[in-house]
Symmetry: none
Subunit: 207 residues, 4 copies
DNA sequence: GATGAATGAGTTTTCATTCAT
DNA sequence: GATGAATGAAAACTCATTCAT
């Protein structure tokens, strides 16, 4: 069955590709792009250097594939969270909860992501990061949309620009989660999403 | 006049040191630590490579001196802002205004600072960044203190932990200012500090 | 034939390693460790610099591998010479003859060896040279053992400590051979080992 | 008194020169020519780098001046020892005793000297070391002369070439003294010069 | 004569990338 | 497709030497 043959080979190839990306993720997220050599990635992935170059044009390509894959996953999870829930408050609660779960379960990825994005501008050639930036803005605008809807439906006081409120919620959750995940002994992060929402909305909520 | 002689030489040396740090700041803030070579810093500072090494033990030492100097300056400005003003609201307004000014006038520095700090964990050897982290925590605690005072004096509702409120205000202003400064064409940042405060306090303020 | 494939590659790699060591030997023995650059070794070995570092961790590692290999070879030859021969006199004659042959046929090595050892203490990190020193002391003690046996068997007068006699014979042959080999036009070295032995033993030999 | 003025200045200059050479001796003898920087010599001598260059054309010149001064001192002491004493045996005893004293009292110098000479050929440009070699050969020939005289006067058996005997005595004392001085805890060196002479002459002495 | 800041050629070392097997 | 030896450009860093003060 040549069809199956091919598909088995394809699947195997895909698995190898994944192995390489997994190894790269662990190393890049711990040490950063410049402090990890292709040799180290190859060693960790248990492939030879040459094989890495069969899958990726160069080091940057490997990195950017990694980031793309990761940000896509994040994007899906977080935008998904924002679309579920009956009303705007529920959506925001969902967003906060999912974000906490995602962060906790993918610390590697999150650190790598922030290494790239929160520096605000990036170390690598522009272009690679543009896609990340676009997805980030998309997410913020989605979040802003939720605020806007809530305001229009009189769920919240329209006390500030929706985009502004979105930025606030995002920054706040980032800062809190990163602080908690980095020093877990230090300060545990809130299980209850309303801790975050209260900061923003107590008083904003239409009674 | 040997006294003057000496002092003139010393002053000149200090100026050269500053020239090098200035050149390094511009380059590091634009391209990042790993993407700038000592040769480039030397060229920009109009000195030879050897001279750089007469002032700094190695590349990391240069970088770390730069960061120390910058964070010290920030720290002074921002803690100063928090200590001026008649009541807590005034202190917070002050903080927001001064931060905006400082950010706008020192974009290089700010970008370099965030490249180091917001990446959450750092690329370079620990120790250098510990001082930065300590100063950052100090600032946050000072800010938290203002919230605490305000809550105790019934100026604000005690709706959340003071440290949490501090983190929120800090994240929010960072995100906004960086967003605005990076893409000035895109979105201007608010001149009025109350735009920030409203997000937090409308409804929190005791009427 | 994958087996042969592998072994051929391995053999080739070993040959390359040997080529590098050979080039290094010639240069180091003529100019000394500090006066030879890795570039020069690479050029002489007809490899690129990078290849040198695929075989040796750094310059010191290359040097130390070279010394280890050489001293091991010497050690084997000279201790071998001391174990052959019917009686003690014969063993000493053997030692003198073999040493002369070894010195003449490996002038490069000998010079490099003496550059390290006779300088009494060494330029490089300790550890590398400890092995050399240990082997040297081993050899001297073997030689001393021959004298001791000879004295016990009344082949020689026990006119001095065996270790002392060993040191004397070693120093004497070194000085003579090096003097001759360095300035061959100047003074040829004795073919007859008894020339050395006579100095020591005429009168010491039990008649 | 301008005469005195000048002479005081001259004396001072000479003292500075000596200070530099002393500092250089300590450093070079411990670490070797290549591992000591002019900066280190300047620091140890408590002068500036520039001052070193007022006294010596370059690093090599400093080194070679140092060696010249030291070998000259050695040469005087050892040739002196060979010229004192009533008969040849006495001269040789003298030589051995003086050499031991000189070695013990000038370990720095001796190590530096051997670093240069016993390596047999030298690290630096030829020329500097030729003078050392010439003086060494001169000394050996003087020593050989003593043996020759002793043989002619029937004090010793003419059992080997005088030059050969000289080389033997020299090598032997070098090896012994260096061994002792390097590891003083290990093996003390003989106080009695006859320990050396016995090795050579017991049986060679005309009874 | 003394100083020491400035120089820059030269050295070691790294590492992304290629390509013959 | 996999391999990994070979490459060499590029980087950090050193240090003998100069020269203006």
């Amino acid at each position: 069955m040549p069809k199956n043959e091919i598909s088995r080979k394809e699947r195997e190839k895909e698995r190898h590709r994944k192995d390489i990306l997994d190894a790269a993720l662990v190393l890049f997220s711990e040490f950063g792009f410049h402090s990890v050599s292709m040799q180290q990635v190859a060693d960790k992935a248990e492939f030879s250097i040459g094989t890495l170059y069969n899958f990726f044009r160069n080091k940057e390509d490997l990195y950017s594939n990694l980031l793309d894959k990761l940000t896509a996953r994040f994007h899906v999870e977080l935008t998904g969270a924002l679309s579920e829930g009956d009303d705007e408050i529920e959506k925001l609660r969902n967003y906060i909860i999912v974000k906490a779960v995602v962060f906790r379960e993918n610390l590697d990825i999150v650190l790598l992501y922030f290494r790239e994005t929160s520096g605000v501008n990036f170390n690598l050639k522009a272009g690679m990061d543009d896609r990340i930036r676009i997805q980030y803005v998309e997410l913020l605008e989605l979040l802003a949309g939720v605020f806007e809807d809530g305001i229009r439906k009189k769920r919240f006081h329209g006390i500030a620009e929706p985009y502004f409120l979105a930025l606030t919620l995002d920054s706040l959750t980032n800062a809190t989660l990163l602080g908690c995940l980095e020093n877990p002994e230090n300060r545990s992060y809130p299980q209850d999403p309303d801790v975050f929402l209260n900061v923003l909305f107590k008083g904003l909520l239409v009674s």
